[in-house]
């Protein structure tokens, strides 16, 4: 029996239909796409989306819908590149574009990632304070737990735990339901692009740019490519990796929409927005304690997801460029550099948050602008690499329609990046409110 021989030779699972085979293969492949998308709904995203809802109600939901295909197309390209080359993004930039671009991308990534990690721990500190836990306990404990998550030497263990954390985000749908939004208005504002009444203000422009910036971040390119390489996805897995990426994109946009709907509750109850933790406390009398506690816990969950993914993107990128062993399959003693970079990112950011009077607003502005600057150029490199026939061959290079879509995305992101730069240089470009 060929089947029995195969079964004894390889550690596979036997199924009796092609349909079951496809489902099982998908379940084995799913992970990097879902994680990269959902981890992008990090503490900064919670803050941005709830603020968008609290200040503009459901008016900006259409921006999220527009971002769905952009998320998918960009991340599909990195998944393809990772599967075909078996290498990470940083390594590919170094190899194909030389040391200037390699160094620039790596430094920019590390700086933007570290600043983002500071905002993640700031969110943990803020949310746990509102739950009555001192930041001096919550922040170090979270850092230790985040270290423990990866130091097991098992990619699968890390992936399963993180997928579990991603799925906890369904709590946002429950919270949105309890907040009882005007569903009809929300549906209309999702499919019909519209702006709140009044002039186009500086804060509205910043908010739209922030939504774009928080939904597609540069670290995601580095993370997913390294992750599919670490998971050793095969070229025949590409179809399932695309489904994984699509599933992740849809889930993250739906969760982002739910966050806007929760923020919309503050808009309808005329609660001024300062930060999501304060909003949770202010909303409690109107929508009940469940939403308050769930929102605070989901803030922590978002920050934990963001921290592990962002720190890994840094550690993988550094390991690739330095030529160090860099894999979650390895124990600490087999890949010390990789784990030290991960640990330094986590503990460094946690330590910064514990410094009294750290200028968090400066950190947040820097993160947004650095990410906004880096993203369009990172996607240009992606576009060039995905047209690299020498590297990918005819089978895996972009099709002409892929290129058209990507150049439109790059143009839009560049325009937003220029607008952001103009806003920074000329703060009075648009009216203040």
């Amino acid at each position: 029996m060929i089947g029995n021989n195969l079964q004894s030779a390889v550690p596979g699972r036997v199924v009796n239909s092609a349909r079951k085979q496809r489902i099982l293969t998908f379940l084995m492949v799913v992970g990097p796409g879902l994680i990269v998308m959902e981890a992008d709904n990090d503490a900064g995203a919670v803050s941005t989306y709830t603020q968008a809802g609290a200040q503009y109600g459901t008016h900006l939901l259409w921006v999220l819908l527009l971002l769905l295909p952009i998320c998918y197309f960009v991340q599909e390209m990195v998944a393809r590149l990772g599967i075909v080359t078996g290498e990470g993004h940083a390594a590919m930039i170094y190899r194909r574009f030389g040391s200037w671009w390699g160094t620039f991308s790596l430094i920019d990534l590390q700086v933007a990632n570290f600043l983002t990690l500071v905002t993640e721990f700031a969110a943990i500190s803020l949310a746990m304070s509102k739950l009555g836990v001192s930041p001096l306990i919550a922040v170090p404990l979270s850092a230790v737990a985040l270290i423990g998550l990866v130091f097991t030497g098992s990619y699968l263990r890390w992936e399963r735990i993180v997928i579990g954390l991603c799925l906890l985000d369904v709590a946002w749908f429950v919270m949105a339901g309890i907040c009882a939004p005007h569903w009809k208005d929300a549906a209309i504002h999702t499919v019909v692009p519209n702006l709140p009444k009044g002039p186009i203000s500086s804060s509205l422009v910043f908010m739209i740019i922030a939504i774009v910036g928080t939904t597609i971040a540069p670290w995601q390119l580095f993370f997913q490519q390294s992750c599919v390489a670490d998971k050793r996805l095969r070229m025949s897995d590409l179809k399932f990796a695309r489904w994984d990426t699509m599933l992740g994109a849809i889930f993250t946009i739906l969760v982002g929409g739910a966050m806007i709907l929760v923020g919309d509750a503050a808009y309808r109850h005329q609660i001024p927005f300062s930060d999501p933790a304060q909003m949770a406390a202010d909303l409690a009398p109107s929508v009940g304690p469940f939403v308050k506690n769930a929102l605070l816990l989901m803030m922590v969950n978002a920050a934990v997801l963001g921290t592990t993914a962002i720190s890994l993107s840094s550690a993988w990128a550094y390991g690739e460029v330095k030529g160090w062993p860099h894999s979650l399959h390895r124990k600490f003693k087999e890949a010390p550099g990789f784990y030290i970079v991960y640990g330094a990112c986590v503990f460094g950011a946690a330590a910064v948050v514990l410094i009294p009077k750290v200028p968090l607003q400066l950190v947040i502005v820097s993160v947004q602008v650095l990410a906004g600057l880096m993203l369009p150029s990172a996607i240009i490199f992606l576009q060039l690499m995905l047209n690299d026939r020498q590297l990918l061959g005819d089978e895996y290079v972009n099709r002409p329609w892929n290129n058209w879509v990507n150049w439109i995305i790059i143009t839009v992101l560049f325009l937003l990046s220029l607008l952001l730069g103009a806003q920074v240089a000329l703060p009075n470009l648009f009216p203040a409110s």
Partner: protein
């Protein structure tokens, strides 16, 4: 190899990527730097200038937000 079909019994064996034999990848180790047209090279040069300018602008803005310039003026 995702799955192997057993032709005699219509069953499939599905193998997890981490348990499968490593496959040959297109790493491009032998390729070196990418061959680029003059247009692409110019585009990257412009991009480099743009990024340096924008980072300088960001640095200025951050120092401004931190009050470095206003403190200097007060003296």
């Amino acid at each position: 190899m995702i799955a192997q079909k057993n032709p005699s019994s219509d069953t499939f064996i599905v193998i997890h990527p981490l348990d499968d034999a490593p496959e040959v990848k297109r790493t491009g180790e032998h390729l070196g730097e990418m061959e680029m047209t003059r247009g692409v090279r110019t585009l990257l040069l412009v991009l480099r200038g743009y990024l340096i300018l924008m980072i300088a602008l960001l640095g200025y803005h951050i120092l401004d937000l931190a009050g470095v310039f206003s403190r200097h003026l007060h003296r």
